[in-house]
Symmetry: C2
Subunit: 209 residues, 2 copies
C-alpha cells in the first residue's frame, strides 16, 4: 500500500464517513457494493469515491465493486483504528460524562483508563468502568500508564492549563471540547469540536435560506 504522498485534509475528513456507511452495510449483511451504489448512499460522486480510495491504493475490483468487509477493514487500518488507544477524560462534568458514555458505547478501542476532575467530591467515583481521579494526579497517571489520547471537556478558561499539563506528560493526541484553540507543540495532534462554531454556521445557513 503506497502511503508516501501527502493526503489532503479533505480526504481524511471523508474517510470516517466512508467507514461509517460501510459499517452500516456490514451490519445489514451486505457483502459487496459498486462505487455507483456507494455514491448514492454516501452522497459523494462515484468518481470522487474512486479518487479518494485510490489515494490509498484502490481496493476495488473491476466489474465487482468493493468488498464491504475488506474496504471497512482497510479504511479502519488507514485511520489507525486497528489498535487500542489508552485514553483519559479530563473534566467530569455533564459533557465529560456524555463523552465517556459515548466512547464506552461506540468507540471501545479508545479505552478510558481514567477520568480526571478538580472536584474532591467526585474523586473515586466509578463511571462506565473508569475511575475518577484528582486533577493533580493527571500528569503522573499519563506518564505511568502510557496514555496516548486525552479528551478535554473542561470549560474554556481551563482548556490551555489542562493541555499544558498533558503536553508535559507526553500526551500524543488531544480531542478538544473546551472551545479554545489550544497552543500545542507540533508533535501533539489535536482535533477540535468547537460547538459554538457549528451552531453559528447553522444560524447562518438558516438566515441565508
Amino acid at each position: 500500500m503506497k502511503q508516501t504522498k501527502v493526503i489532503s485534509k479533505a480526504v481524511i475528513k471523508r474517510l470516517p464517513r466512508y467507514r461509517r456507511y460501510l459499517g452500516e452495510l456490514k451490519k445489514r449483511g451486505v457483502e459487496k457494493i459498486s462505487s455507483k451504489d456507494l455514491s448514492e448512499l454516501i452522497g459523494y460522486t462515484a468518481s470522487q469515491i474512486r479518487q479518494d480510495l485510490n489515494n490509498f491504493g484502490g481496493f476495488g475490483q473491476q466489474g465487482y465493486g468493493y468488498s464491504v468487509e475488506n474496504l471497512y477493514k482497510e479504511i479502519s487500518n488507514i485511520l489507525g483504528l486497528n489498535k487500542e488507544y489508552k485514553t483519559v477524560i479530563v473534566g467530569y462534568g455533564r459533557l465529560g460524562q456524555a463523552m465517556a458514555s459515548y466512547i464506552d458505547k461506540n468507540e471501545k478501542q479508545f479505552r478510558i483508563a481514567g477520568i480526571f476532575d478538580v472536584s474532591d467530591k467526585v474523586v473515586n467515583e466509578v463511571f462506565k468502568n473508569a475511575q475518577v481521579y484528582a486533577f493533580n494526579d493527571l500528569k503522573e497517571f499519563v506518564v505511568e500508564n502510557d496514555i496516548e489520547i486525552a479528551v478535554i471537556t473542561v470549560p474554556r478558561e481551563k482548556g490551555q492549563v489542562v493541555a499544558d499539563t498533558l503536553v508535559e506528560a507526553g500526551i500524543k493526541g488531544i480531542w478538544n471540547f473546551s472551545s479554545v484553540d489550544l497552543e500545542l507543540p507540533d508533535n501533539v495532534c489535536v482535533e477540535n469540536v468547537h460547538m459554538s462554531d457549528s451552531l453559528h454556521a447553522l444560524a447562518y445557513y438558516m438566515k441565508d435560506k
Copy 2:
C-alpha cells in the same frame, strides 16, 4: 452590504472563529486591531482575512485596522446571531443535558423552550429553566410555539424518526448529534456534529505523525 454573491462554505466555517476571537478581544477591552495582528492571533494570513471580510463589504479602515466592537457586531449580524432562536432539545440523556447546559451558559440567544424525551420518568422535570416534555407532544409544541431550531441528541437509531417528526412540524434548522446523516427536505438546514468522524480523524493524524 452586498450579499448577492454566493459565499463559500469555507468562508462561513471561518466566520464563527473570527467572532470567537473578536469576542475575546472585546472582553479584554481591546478597541481596534490591524489585520496583521488579527492574523497572528487567529492563525489565518492577513490577506486571507481581508479577502474573507471583503465578501461582506470590508469593514476595515485604511491605516486604522478593524474596530473590534464593530467587526464583532457585523459578523454576528452576518451569522444571524442578532436575533433569538426558539430552540428545543430532543433527547434528555447525558448528551442532551450537556448541550442544554452549554447553550444556557454560552449561547443564550438560542433560547431553550423545551426538552423532549421518550421516558415517562423525566417528564415535568425542569433543567436550566426548561421543562421536560413527552416526545409524543413534540410535534404540537413545535407548531404552537414557532420553534425554529431543534437539537437532536438521541441515539443513532432514533435520529431519523425524530427528524421526520420535526420536519412535519415545520422545523427550520437541526443541530444534529445523532451520528446519522439525516434525510431532510431542501428547506430544512442541518449542521452535523459527528463525534466519531472527529475522533477517527484524530487517530489518523496520530498514526501519520
